[in-house]
């Protein structure tokens, strides 16, 4: 087992355990913290994939923004969700069955895919540079359109979020 593999397995275990804890922890706040840990683990996986830009962006976007938003929401809605009592639906057994079925289905479907055994070739230096990705993003013949559409989506989400969460004054509708 090479050091890389060792490192990968540790990270994977951390991710999976913390993700599982996210699901089954009773206290919402702790759940959110486990969630943050899982996200950081994913960032490490990105770094292992030699995508350092995405690793950093993962930390920036998920930990810096989304996780904080979630923690905020958890704190703001604490009154409605007491941490006592069951935190899962009554139908959790059926859900578990469905998930297991999905797992089995996926396993059966992709078991004999020839891509699975691929090993990476060493990344050439010029592809390591994120400048290339940046140029691709603004090239009208490549990804400029998706890029712009995404930015509009973000803008719409911004406006929508502000509008939805805006507290209207009583009697002013």
């Amino acid at each position: 087992m090479s050091p890389q593999q060792f490192f990968f397995i540790i990270t994977a275990v951390v991710i999976l355990v913390s993700a599982l804890m996210t699901v089954i922890t009773r206290k919402m706040m702790h759940s959110a913290l486990w969630f943050v840990l899982a996200l950081l683990g994913v960032a490490v996986i990105f770094a292992l994939l030699e995508a350092s830009f995405f690793a950093v962006v993962q930390v920036l976007v998920y930990v810096g923004a989304i996780a904080i938003l979630i923690i905020f929401s958890v704190m703001l809605t604490r009154k409605a969700m007491e941490d006592t009592g069951s935190q899962v639906n009554k139908t959790w057994v059926i859900s578990l069955l469905i998930v297991n079925l999905t797992a089995i289905g996926g396993f059966l479907a992709f078991r004999s895919w020839e891509v699975l055994g691929t090993f990476p070739t060493a990344l050439m230096a010029e592809h390591y540079d994120i400048g290339e990705l940046g140029m691709a993003l603004i090239d009208p013949e490549r990804f400029a359109l998706p890029f712009e559409v995404t930015s509009i989506l973000l803008l719409a989400a911004l406006v929508g979020a502000i509008y939805i969460a805006f507290q209207r004054k009583e009697g002013k509708k």
Binding site: I98, L101, L108
Partner: protein, 729 residues
């Protein structure tokens, strides 16, 4: 310094005025000061950029072959891209030069014209010219001009106007050029209708918009035709590709037996006719005088009408396709030349009998544009461009000067409380002493307009057109143009005499005063160009002076032509003619009008010409003719035929008939078919649906996770079946 990113600067040229427009409209329109500084800043930035580009352009060799500029992909059209881009070649370079100067001067002048720094008027409303304000000083009150109520709006719109013109000039393709062209149409509508509360202003705005639109439709047809044939809209690609040009020249179009080049050239030329106010579509331009004077200057000198001639010059290779110097004119060129020459004479003759100071200039503009168009028609490309160049300066000067005169007159009439038409020349007189700067600059502009020999710019360019006509042996055109030059000199002299010389004919005129520096400095700058702009284009064949001249402009512009420029020898006859008509006309005009001293005196020319004079004064009844021939019939048709006959009788009658038949049919169907058969089945289906709906609605419980689970389950089962089937077969 030579490492400036020139293509980028060219791209950025139109941007500052557009930004200024957006800023003023969206953010800072509350502050008048900020508005005009923003507009001036935008115009100034563009001006600096234009000068940088111009200097680079005149220093570049073989500019016509390799214009400075760049293009980028805009719209995918199948396998190719519709490209847009910017380019500066010799024609755009000199256009850029005069456009930048005149626009900047007009912007500066506007600050003064709209009475910045004056108090707010007591009765001023947005949409009406300022009425003046009463201020009290040292115990007694008097009226002074008041600031324009829609001051910021004016600067916003005029910035947009400047943006459109810059965009049009730097375009290297018809698409962006057309965008600029149409934005200009919109701006002219908005600005001519700036004082929209007046009825006549609204009519003038609509008239300008619709009349130019007629030309634009034909132009769009031409553009579409060009694109469908050549597959590109880039000028350089079309005009410098011999294969395309040859194909265009030799293929015969289905219309009038013209070649495709000739047909497209003609269609585009109709666009010019609309924009540059040539004969059948000229009617909008005199009415456009209802707008504020800086707008008139903007439309007449810097932007709109220049754009028309600029377009024709751009399309000169198409208009003149298949023609070589010295040969007979092609049909398209003949049309162009005839329309131009006729307009020149026709408008000049009207100008003689007008009394409104701005209308005289308006007709003068039409006439001068006719000159340029005629020059294009006879193939004198350089001469036309040269006249466009000089005309922009002296016509801007004349308009701003007339605005200054009007402003001075309004000041006077406000001061003494007299209600007169401040634009009527009969009410003026003797203003030369009251307004010296305006007077001398106006004289410079007037002399340039009438082609005063040797020193003024107008002489050189006009002389070049005349000699072009003479040398290429189009005697009819030459004579017509010479006569209109004579008329030009006469009405210029008439205007100068009536406005500035003699004695004041009204109280207001005697109390008129010179305007502020912010208005007179642009006049002085433009006067400088009105004299000097001609010196770059003194032909080398000219006696005496030709020796010391380099003929730079001719060389610069000739490189644009597909063939060698007309190198015919310089003859003395056109020179003598232009000397004669200019000096003679000025003299005649002065002699006739120097005794005109009373406002209610009959115009001396009326005595001499009689009924012809009223024909001229009423502009040959063209407006009335249009009203009788097109507008009234259109109204009549709309009301009597379309509304009363077709709509009310024909269509309504048919509809009522159908309705009755439908009603009758409906009754039969209801009692024969609907009640027994359809209802029975329908009720059965409804009951069945209701019952099954109740059954299924249990699934629809509004719980998100429930749905999600079902969806995933279904997905997995379907996926498994598909994979199983795929593996089995």
């Amino acid at each position: 310094m030579n490492t400036f990113n020139y293509p980028l600067i060219i791209w950025l040229l139109p941007v500052p005025p557009l930004l200024a427009f957006a800023l003023i409209v969206l953010l800072i329109n509350k502050s008048k000061k900020a508005s005009h500084w923003t507009a001036l800043g935008g115009a100034g930035l563009s001006f600096i950029g234009a000068m940088v580009v111009f200097i680079k352009a005149i220093g570049t060799s073989a500019l016509a072959k390799n214009p400075i500029g760049s293009s980028l992909n805009w719209l995918p059209t199948g396998n190719t891209w519709l490209k847009i881009g910017t380019a500066v070649d010799p024609l755009s370079a000199i256009t850029l030069f005069f456009v930048a100067w005149t626009i900047l001067m007009i912007f500066i002048y506007s600050v003064g014209y709209h009475n910045y720094g004056q108090p707010k008027g007591d009765n001023d409303h947005p949409g009406l010219p300022p009425q003046g304000a009463v201020i009290s000083e040292h115990g007694h009150s008097h009226r002074v001009p008041s600031i324009e109520p829609m001051y910021s709006r004016f600067f916003a719109l005029i910035s947009l106007f400047a943006f459109a013109m810059y965009m049009l000039v730097v375009s290297d393709n018809l698409l962006t050029l057309y965008i600029g062209w149409e934005v200009m149409g919109l701006c002219s509508y908005l600005l001519i209708g700036f004082w929209y509360a007046k009825d006549s202003v609204r009519k003038a705005a609509v008239k300008a918009f619709i009349t130019t639109r007629i030309g634009d439709v034909f132009m769009l047809l031409g553009i579409a035709g060009l694109y469908s044939i050549t597959g590109t809209l880039n000028f350089h690609e079309i005009f410098s590709n011999p294969l395309i040009m040859k194909g265009l020249t030799e293929t015969i179009s289905p219309v009038f037996g013209l070649s495709w080049a000739g047909l497209i050239g003609l269609l585009v030329f109709i666009g010019t006719v609309g924009k540059s106010a040539q004969f059948p579509l000229h009617v909008w331009l005199p009415d456009a005088m209802e707008g504020p004077t800086p707008v008139s200057a903007m439309i007449h000198a810097a932007t709109m009408v220049s754009a028309g001639v600029y377009l024709s010059l751009r399309f000169f290779p198409l208009i003149s396709a298949g023609w070589q110097p010295g040969e007979a004119l092609t049909p398209t060129m003949t049309v162009v030349a005839v329309i131009g020459a006729f307009t020149a004479l026709f408008a000049a003759s009207i100008a003689i009998a007008q009394n409104d100071i701005k209308r005289v200039l308006a007709y003068s503009t039409i006439s001068q544009l006719g000159y340029m168009v005629a020059a294009i028609g006879i193939g004198a490309y350089t001469a036309a461009a040269f006249h466009l160049f000089t005309h922009a300066f002296f016509k801007a000067l004349l308009f701003l000067g007339s605005g200054s005169v009007i402003h001075g007159m309004e000041h006077g009439s406000l001061h003494i409380g007299e209600h007169i038409d401040a634009q009527d020349m009969r009410n003026m007189g003797g203003l030369g002493k009251k307004m010296p700067v305006t007077f001398w600059t106006f004289v410079v502009g007037g002399l340039a307009l009438s082609g005063f020999p040797l020193i003024t710019a107008g002489f050189w360019s006009k002389d070049e057109i005349l000699s072009g006509a003479f040398n290429s042996a189009h005697m009819a055109i030459f004579v017509v143009l010479a006569i209109s030059a004579l008329l030009t000199a006469i009405y210029t002299a008439r205007q100068l005499t009536m406005v500035f010389l003699s004695v004041p004919r009204t109280e207001s005129a005697s109390h008129a005063s010179e305007n502020k520096t912010v208005m007179t400095v642009p006049l002085a700058v433009l006067a400088f160009f009105a004299i000097c702009a001609g010196w770059v284009g003194i032909p080398q064949e000219f006696p005496l002076l030709g020796k010391i001249s380099s003929g730079w402009l001719q060389g610069f512009l000739d490189s644009m032509l597909p063939f060698k420029g007309e190198a015919a020898g310089h003859s003395l006859i056109p020179l003598m003619t232009s000397l004669g008509v200019s000096l003679g006309g000025l003299l005649i005009g002065w002699l006739i009008y120097r005794r005109y001293k009373e406002a209610n005196q009959v115009d001396p020319l009326r005595l001499g010409l009689g009924p012809v004079y009223s024909l001229l004064q009423n502009k040959y009844w063209i407006d009335e003719f249009y009203s009788l021939a097109f507008i009234r019939p259109a109204y009549w048709f709309a009301e009597k035929v379309s509304y009363e006959f077709i709509d009310k009788k024909l269509i309504d009658g048919i509809l009522h008939g159908i309705a009755r038949i439908g009603l009758w049919l409906g009754k039969i169907l209801r009692f024969g078919l609907d009640l027994p058969v359809v209802n029975g089945a329908g009720d059965g289906i409804a009951t069945g649906t209701k019952k099954s709906g109740k059954l299924f609605s249990r699934l629809q419980n509004g719980k998100v996770q429930h749905y999600m689970g079902l969806a995933v389950l279904l997905l997995v089962i379907t996926g498994m079946i598909v994979i199983y089937l795929a593996a089995a077969f």
